[in-house]
């Protein structure tokens, strides 16, 4: 929000005035109203504690984060480039495996990856769109440029917060919102539905959202998207496969299903193809998929491309398939599977962030500069025992944004999760979920680790309107 010299950046000036005009009391009141409205709407996630489950709202900050049009243009083209390359990469490794034959990526890294699904080999995926919904995590570094921290290509969530936060911030700062020329995000459900439909042959395809059920932390989002797309929200027990066709059980008998936007992990889609003891999935679903009678979105096995070790190769992947340089850079990543890089990591543990390759959600990681000596030593042992399982990155000074904390405005670290849809076309919704690390100084933004969120305003390209006199 502020330039290094403490002056408010141009695109924040109107908001700054609005905040000052409102004053502390009005802001606190609006924060309360907002939290209450989230609770009433049931925009909650469930925290499982000792023997009890409580519903909590994800803490939401009132102040929007603003991204000017020129910056967004870079993000948008960068994300489209990246997703195109990743889809081509998936089509290749589940097809001819040229990139492995050419030695760009080590074969064992891909074929040995826990998220690699050999069942997907030589399976036809329309438009080569393996990843239909992608939620990449970006951060802004010290030099002000955005780079990609992580690609989420399996079942990314958070888009309902993007939409709910927008509702809230529009109500909180109606004047600034009107003046600023904020690009709308409300078309997301509509775009998602056409993306999903473009994966089927028939234009009147029956689309459903597959949820693990009400006990899933993201259930609210599943129901929300189904409601806004106007399609049934189904659970595994509502579906049945018969003669390579998938049906849903309705009050009037079985009805065929063409496209399944699944919000369950690969392993729980079909007990016959994947994890046998799972009771969530639909037996026979994968065979119907192989037979081309139903489409699963995202395709199973996309996790191999957002693996934390494969991440290090994404710039090479982009160059290999598109013959372009990556527009959005990666964070420098050390692969502990390479012995030279491992010794560098071990020697610099106090400066690096070390992550387990298979883990997500902020679990299984060591933030070197914040860890105690004992923690670092314990982690070093784990590293040496199983180097293939770890990658390391330099700690990045990620950007902060002002947040309302107990009545005071304080800086907190933030990241940015935009949502990219890919079917017949690739589209980026002009908006994002900005995740906030609520503890002062903390760099971890995951909601399971005490993260919050705020709205993100992407401005239409006419910045002159914004400059307040």
């Amino acid at each position: 929000m502020f330039a290094p010299d403490g002056v408010t950046r141009a695109h924040y000036r109107l908001l700054d005035q609005d905040i000052h005009a409102l004053g502390a009391q009005a802001l606190a009141d609006r924060q309360k109203t907002l939290e209450r409205s989230f609770l009433l709407q049931g925009i909650t996630f469930t925290v499982y504690g000792a023997g009890s489950a409580t519903e909590r709202i994800i803490p939401t900050d009132l102040f929007p984060r603003i991204i000017p049009a020129a910056e967004w243009a870079v993000i948008e083209t960068g994300l489209i480039q990246r997703l195109k390359a990743l889809n081509l990469f998936l089509a290749d490794i589940y097809g001819e495996q040229k990139i492995l034959a050419d030695g760009i990526i080590p074969r064992d890294l891909i074929l040995g990856c826990p998220a690699y699904r050999r069942q997907m080999k030589h399976l036809f995926v329309p438009h080569q769109a393996y990843v239909n919904v992608c939620g990449s995590d970006l951060v802004r570094g010290q030099d002000g440029a955005f780079f990609v921290l992580e690609d989420n290509l399996r079942v990314p969530s958070g888009v309902s917060y993007m939409l709910a936060n927008r509702d809230a911030s529009r109500r909180t700062f109606p004047n600034t919102f009107r003046e600023a020329g904020v690009r709308p995000v409300e078309r997301y459900p509509d775009l998602l539905l056409s993306t999903l439909k473009s994966m089927a042959e028939r234009p009147d395809a029956q689309v459903v959202v597959l949820t693990p059920g009400v006990y899933n932390a993201a259930y609210y989002e599943h129901a929300y998207l189904a409601r806004l797309m106007g399609v049934p929200l189904v659970e595994g027990r509502d579906l049945t496969a018969h003669d390579n066709r998938v049906y849903m059980r309705t009050t009037a008998g079985l009805r065929p299903v063409d496209v399944i936007y699944r919000r369950v992990d690969d392993d729980f889609t079909d007990p016959l193809a994947f994890r046998h003891e799972s009771s969530l999935g639909v037996a026979g679903l994968f065979n119907a998929y192989r037979a081309g009678q139903v489409v699963i979105c995202n395709a199973p096995g996309t996790g191999v491309a957002d693996d934390k070790a494969v991440y290090a190769y994404v710039p090479s992947i982009i160059r290999y398939y598109l013959d372009e340089d990556a527009i959005l850079p990666n964070v420098k990543t050390f692969l502990c599977r390479e012995s030279a890089q491992l010794s560098h990591v071990l020697a610099n543990l106090d400066k690096l962030v070390v992550k387990a390759v298979g883990a997500s959600g902020g679990y299984g990681m060591l933030v070197g500069p914040h860890a105690s000596k004992a923690e670092r030593e314990a982690f070093a042992e784990a590293l040496k025992a199983d180097p293939e399982n770890y990658v390391a990155q330099p700690t990045i000074q990620i950007s902060t944004a002002p947040c309302l904390m107990d009545g005071h405005i304080e800086p907190r670290h933030v990241d940015l999760r935009p949502f990219i849809l890919s079917g017949e076309k690739v589209v980026v919704t002009p908006g994002a979920l900005t995740r906030v690390a609520l503890r002062r100084g903390s760099l971890v933004v995951n909601s399971s680790q005490g993260g919050g969120s705020k709205d993100t305003w992407v401005l239409a390209p006419s910045p002159a309107k914004l400059e307040a006199p």
Partner: protein, 313 residues
């Protein structure tokens, strides 16, 4: 055409919401009656507790303790908060099918009735606490009525409401007129309490004036055509909604419409003299049994049907 699981959840949402309202009303009437410190008041408490298949009132220290169990006991499946929690859980299952207006109303009500302040609010003024729940449930029904499409899902929900209502009303009347121990209630205060438990005092007075007697109460609560809580009103709605829901369908062996139609015919053409002569017990027991049978038939026809019979041609 809708998902079978969704239809089932909407049906149970209706049943639980109706149950919560009924239990809240029984508890309020019981609390108000006991303010009088008369034998009749004890009778009212006994009626309320017997109607929910609880033991005698003497099990509890006082009416407040009994009302507390009816209202707040999460362990008891029939209590107000347990019913509200089940209603809300079913609504959450089908969150994509009910409008935001009705969901928020139900969620708000649930959060207040189960929140940390609930116990204190109940202890401070139990009748007020319960009255607000009833008023909130009316708002929920009103919001649903005004905003939801009155299509298939709506009909499943209302079928649930009316089956629950017919069954609860039959149980309540069975306690009072079923020929159990003590015979039919004859005390004026107890009779007025019964009418209040059925939310029927004012509508009754408009039809029969202040002439309150057992025969007329029975006639009104069983057979009145226009009073929305009479058994006959409920059975007529059940038949009406099931007729819509089954239109153009092969209902198979378990035909809920046939069962519902037979029940409704029995109430439509019953005669109060006959019922009074032989005691209302058998007919009321038949109503409860028929409600259970219709419930089972709905489940087997619309929800848990065998797959091989229903593949599209």
């Amino acid at each position: 055409m809708m998902l079978a699981r969704v239809a089932d959840s909407l049906y149970w949402l209706g049943r639980y919401a109706e149950r919560a309202e009924h239990m809240a009303r029984l508890a309020v009437v019981m609390l108000n009656a006991t303010l009088d410190r008369t034998d009749a008041a004890d009778q009212a408490a006994r009626i309320a507790l017997a109607a929910v298949a609880r033991g005698a009132a003497t099990e509890f220290a006082d009416a407040q303790a009994a009302a507390r169990v009816l209202a707040l006991d999460r362990e008891s499946a029939a209590s107000v908060v347990a019913s509200l929690a089940s209603a809300r859980e079913n609504a959450r299952q089908v969150r994509d099918q009910i409008t935001t207006e009705s969901w928020e109303q139900l969620n708000f009500l649930y959060l207040r009735a189960t929140g940390i302040a609930a116990e204190a609010a109940f202890a401070a003024d139990a009748p007020d606490f319960l009255q607000r729940i009833i008023a909130d449930l009316h708002q929920f029904k009103g919001a649903a009525e005004a905003t939801m499409s009155h299509g298939e899902g709506w009909r499943f929900m209302l079928t649930g409401v009316y089956i629950e209502r017919a069954q609860l009303m039959a149980q309540l009347l069975k306690v009072c007129f079923g020929g159990g121990r003590g015979g039919p209630i004859d005390d004026h205060v107890a009779q007025v309490s019964l009418l209040r438990m059925a939310c029927a005092l004012e509508p009754y007075l408009r039809v029969y004036t202040a002439d309150i007697n057992a025969r007329l109460i029975l006639e009104f609560l069983m057979f009145d055509e226009d009073f929305p809580r009479s058994i006959r009103f409920s059975t007529e709605r059940i038949q009406e909604y099931l007729a819509h829901l089954s239109a153009g369908r092969d209902l198979g062996r378990h035909d809920p419409l046939r069962l519902a139609g037979r029940l409704n015919a029995r109430l439509t053409y019953a005669d109060i003299d006959e019922v009074e002569g032989g005691g209302a017990g058998p007919l009321l027991a038949a109503v409860v049994e028929a409600c259970i049978a219709v419930d089972k038939a709905i489940h087997e026809t619309f929800v848990a049907y065998p797959i091989e019979m229903r593949l599209p041609a």
